[in-house]
């Protein structure tokens, strides 16, 4: 019996640029195949072209593109519309935006039933509530009437899946279903997809996160720049990757990689700072002075307690990691540390002197001592300035914007050539933007750097380069980091000591290896268990 879905050397191009070329795979009912690749690898376009939604002006060709006995290539728009939703379900990439903010969630689910089912409006509404329950949404009646922004990320994702499977399609395409979700929520979503596959639904799982794909997919296609560089059973591809790109991808995953272990082939650091490429060695244990400490921090927004009695201390040259799910208060702690926000109670001291109690005027000269980098680097740059101007401004603390040789040297230090000076941040890749943000932060030679989710939105390989850069700079300048993240593997790899936060409180703290070795608090244990690991299970 031929496969449910057959794709033979699929090719998609927009005008002259080819985005996908030579992609072939088959899929049986109840089987899950994984498409892995970084952003721009064409994995998402491949999936969408199955629905005829590759995009405006896309030219799709293939020697075979069959779903059951339908030839998707020559299907009429009417047939495609009948297939979408009824036979092939699709969970779109930016899942958190896949629900119309102005319409109740239940209505979005009922729409699929309206398009493909005989049910009247009232039965559709009831069925939508049942579907929400089926995908594990608590209080489905209440949630069905609410709008997208009144639901948490996880619930929204579940509602999108409910909408995609409402008409019981035989194939489900899940495009980045778990990005930007906390690990525990991520685990829940993957369990749901696993159940659907087990019930006989064909599943195409698309993600940049190898660990996520490895948990569900029986076979994996690794895509790079529109081509399949490697494909085969999951354990083979991950266990003994044949293609160098796959190897680099597997290596770049920070989870379980010890502190200081370079995630990228050790690249000789140009310039005066090239340390000897010795194996991962922590810096000499210098008697560490506390550069930044906080005690008894409390911060309330309206009737919500965002930070409740949080204390910590960061030693010179070392990294304090702060891990917790969204809404745990870690970003608020960062803003209190930076004295951008005033605590309701408790104090922050920088280099031994009062920091949160000081007035803004007193703090201004000492601002140079503490820098910051953010998850969305681009929005932290003045849109009208070029890279050169941004860095010159940081160097001269605002007086001159002349792009001089110090700027070139600063760029070099973060691994970028002088030609970047004239460029506008808007035109650069995510990784390059974050490097420039780091260059700007270290320009005034700070002692402490607050890193708030610096790599969360970067592809795995780019993430690795940025993390290695941070390690190099820490070792070269004795910088101390307050490193905040929700990806357990990344935070563990970067931090010497760790804070685990939940609901605004520190539930556990201590040396990173001790906390991961024998986690004392149940929430920490649950977090560690939920973190996806390369070796499956």
């Amino acid at each position: 019996m031929s496969a449910m879905l057959e794709v033979r050397d699929l090719r998609v191009s927009f005008g002259r640029t080819t985005v996908v070329s030579g992609v072939s795979f088959e899929l049986e009912a109840g089987e899950c195949i994984g498409l892995v690749g970084e952003s721009g690898s064409g994995k998402s376009v491949t999936a969408r072209s199955l629905l005829g939604l590759a995009g405006e002006g896309a030219a799709v060709s293939a020697s075979a593109l069959r779903f059951d006995d339908h030839d998707l290539l020559s299907a009429s728009p009417r047939l495609l519309r009948r297939l979408r939703g009824r036979e092939i379900g699709y969970v779109s990439q930016a899942a958190l935006l896949a629900l119309d903010p102005l319409r109740p969630v239940g209505r979005e689910i009922a729409d699929t039933l309206r398009l493909h089912g005989p049910l009247g409006p009232r039965q559709r509404q009831e069925r939508a509530v049942e579907l929400l329950a089926e995908v594990g949404v608590p209080e489905p009646e209440l949630r069905a009437g609410q709008r997208a922004d009144e639901l948490s990320g996880g619930l929204r994702q579940r509602a999108v899946i409910a909408s995609a499977i409402a008409a019981r399609p035989r194939l489900l395409i899940a495009d980045e279903p778990t990005t930007a979700l906390d690990s525990t929520v991520q685990a829940g979503i993957l369990r749901l997809l696993e159940r659907l596959r087990a019930e006989g639904m064909g599943l195409i799982l698309i993600s940049h996160d190898l660990a996520v794909v490895s948990r569900l997919a029986s076979r994996i296609l690794v895509m790079r720049a529109g081509e399949v560089v490697e494909s085969g059973p999951t354990d083979e591809v991950l266990g003994s990757p044949r293609h160098p790109y796959t190897r680099r991808l597997v290596a770049a995953v920070a989870t379980d990689r010890p502190r200081w272990a370079p995630l990228t082939e050790a690249r000789p650091m140009a310039g005066a700072l090239a340390p000897s490429p010795s194996e991962a060695l922590p810096p000499a244990a210098v008697p560490s002075e506390v550069v930044l400490e906080a005690s008894g921090l409390v911060r309330r927004f309206g009737d919500r307690l965002a930070v409740d009695d949080v204390g910590f201390s960061v030693r010179r040259g070392s990294t304090l990691g702060v891990v917790g799910e969204s809404g745990s208060g870690k970003t608020t702690v960062a803003r209190l540390a930076l004295a951008i926000d005033r605590p309701d109670a408790g104090t922050v001291r920088l280099l031994g002197e009062p920091w949160s109690e000081a007035t803004e005027r007193e703090r201004r000269p000492r601002r140079a001592r503490i820098g910051a980098i953010y998850q969305d680097a681009l929005s932290s740059f003045d849109p009208r300035w070029t890279v050169g101007q941004t860095l010159a401004d940081a160097l001269s603390s605002g007086r001159t914007r002349r792009a001089g040789e110090e700027v070139a040297e600063l760029l070099e230090r973060v691994g970028l050539g002088p030609e970047f000076m004239a460029r506008r941040p808007r035109g650069l890749s995510g990784g390059q933007q974050q490097r420039i943000a780091i260059a700007r932060a270290i320009a005034p030679r700070p002692d402490v750097l607050i890193c708030d989710e610096p790599v969360s939105s970067l592809d795995v390989s780019v993430q690795a380069q940025v993390l290695d850069l941070l390690d190099e700079l820490q070792r070269a300048y004795g910088l101390s980091y307050l490193f905040i993240g929700h990806d357990l593997g990344v935070v563990r790899h970067m931090s010497d000591e760790l804070l685990v936060m939940r609901g605004g409180r520190v539930v556990e703290s201590g040396a990173t290896e001790r906390v991961f070795g024998d986690p004392r608090h149940p929430y920490t244990r649950e977090l560690i268990a939920a973190a996806p690991r390369l070796n499956g299970g």
Partner: protein, 331 residues
């Protein structure tokens, strides 16, 4: 005749929240309305006093009346024009609070009655024009989204041209075309629908130009958004996607524009009502100012200001109901 507007819904006052917190918003809003009405009445009261010419003369059948000294003196006493300005003002405010808008000099009738007669005509004209403008703007947007390559270019130019046409030039051209040459429609307003078509079109086309430009951006954003892709992936046709999703998103900036649109419609009504000889507040306002009919001017201005405040309060409310993000973001 208010200024132009870019696609930017106004930032509303800073309170909001669940039912319990609606109260402060309502109180603040009511306070704002009262303040604005008081300010408008005061400014108009004193501004009109700056106009050259003797108010008493305006009382006696308008300017150029060769009324005798006794008649003028009697009029001054009757309308209290001989008392010091401040007393007149306080007296006037007092009567205002009791809802007495005073007596129109030129029309020799209570202002409230004059406004009552004319309000209907202007409101009907304004509402119809708003609806037609919205329909044209939405139609253009739908055509540009689904009409293929040239469609969106042409429709955006149409919008810009529409917004750039002066009301009276449009009115004259429409009369020339539809009445003088084609003879389909009466050139001046006659009872019944036929008399409404040209005046409404004259007001609606420029407004549609503005609404179109404002809605176009949010419609194009919506059509390219993930939730529209998800809808298509569910099997929704292009029509369904436009009317169920994109059109609603276009309503947001349009609602934000309603306050400004109300002002533009009233100003436009002054011109349209005089060309088409339609009774209404716009025309009465123009005549009242020229005849220095103080009570009538202030009466009409107050009613328009009240109308404006109602519209902005409604749009504020609609904003919050339509887009919960505003409410939750505490804006």
């Amino acid at each position: 005749m208010a200024g132009s507007i870019a696609a930017q819904p106004p930032v509303t006052t800073r309170t909001g929240g669940r039912a319990r917190r609606w109260l402060p918003w309502l109180l603040l809003r009511a306070g704002g309305v009262l303040f604005v009405l008081w300010a408008v009445a005061t400014i108009t009261f004193f501004a009109i006093r700056l106009i050259p010419g003797d108010p008493a003369e305006a009382v006696l059948g308008g300017p150029g009346s060769q009324a005798s000294e006794e008649a003028l003196a009697q009029a001054r006493r009757e309308y209290g024009l001989d008392r010091p300005l401040i007393l007149q003002y306080l007296g006037y405010l007092g009567r205002l609070l009791t809802g007495d808008l005073g007596h129109s000099y030129s029309l020799r009738a209570p202002v409230a009655e004059v406004i009552g007669e004319n309000l209907g005509g202007t409101l009907l004209l304004a509402l119809l024009s708003l609806l037609v403008a919205a329909a044209i703007a939405l139609g253009l947007a739908a055509w540009s989204v689904r009409g293929g390559r040239g469609a969106s270019g042409v429709s955006s130019v149409l919008e810009i041209v529409g917004a750039a046409v002066p009301h009276f030039w449009l009115a004259i051209s429409l009369i020339l075309l539809f009445s003088t040459w084609l003879g389909w429609l009466p050139p001046v307003s006659v009872p019944g629908p036929a008399g409404l078509v040209l005046p409404v079109l004259t007001l609606a086309i420029p407004l549609a130009g503005f609404l179109g430009q404002v809605m176009r951006e949010s419609i194009l954003d919506a059509m390219a958004s993930p939730f529209v892709l998800a809808a298509r992936a569910r099997g929704e046709g292009e029509g369904g996607v436009f009317w169920r999703h994109a059109a609603r998103h276009a309503a947001l900036p349009a609602i934000g524009l309603a306050g400004w649109a109300f002002g533009a419609l009233i100003s436009g009504a002054v011109v349209v009502e005089s060309i088409f000889a339609r009774p209404g507040l716009g025309r009465s306002l123009l005549a009242a100012v020229q005849l220095r009919d103080v009570p009538l001017v202030i009466g009409i201005v107050l009613v328009v200001a009240l109308g404006y405040m109602l519209v902005t309060t409604l749009t504020d409310l609609a904003d919050r109901l339509a887009d919960p993000r505003l409410r939750r973001a505490g804006r």
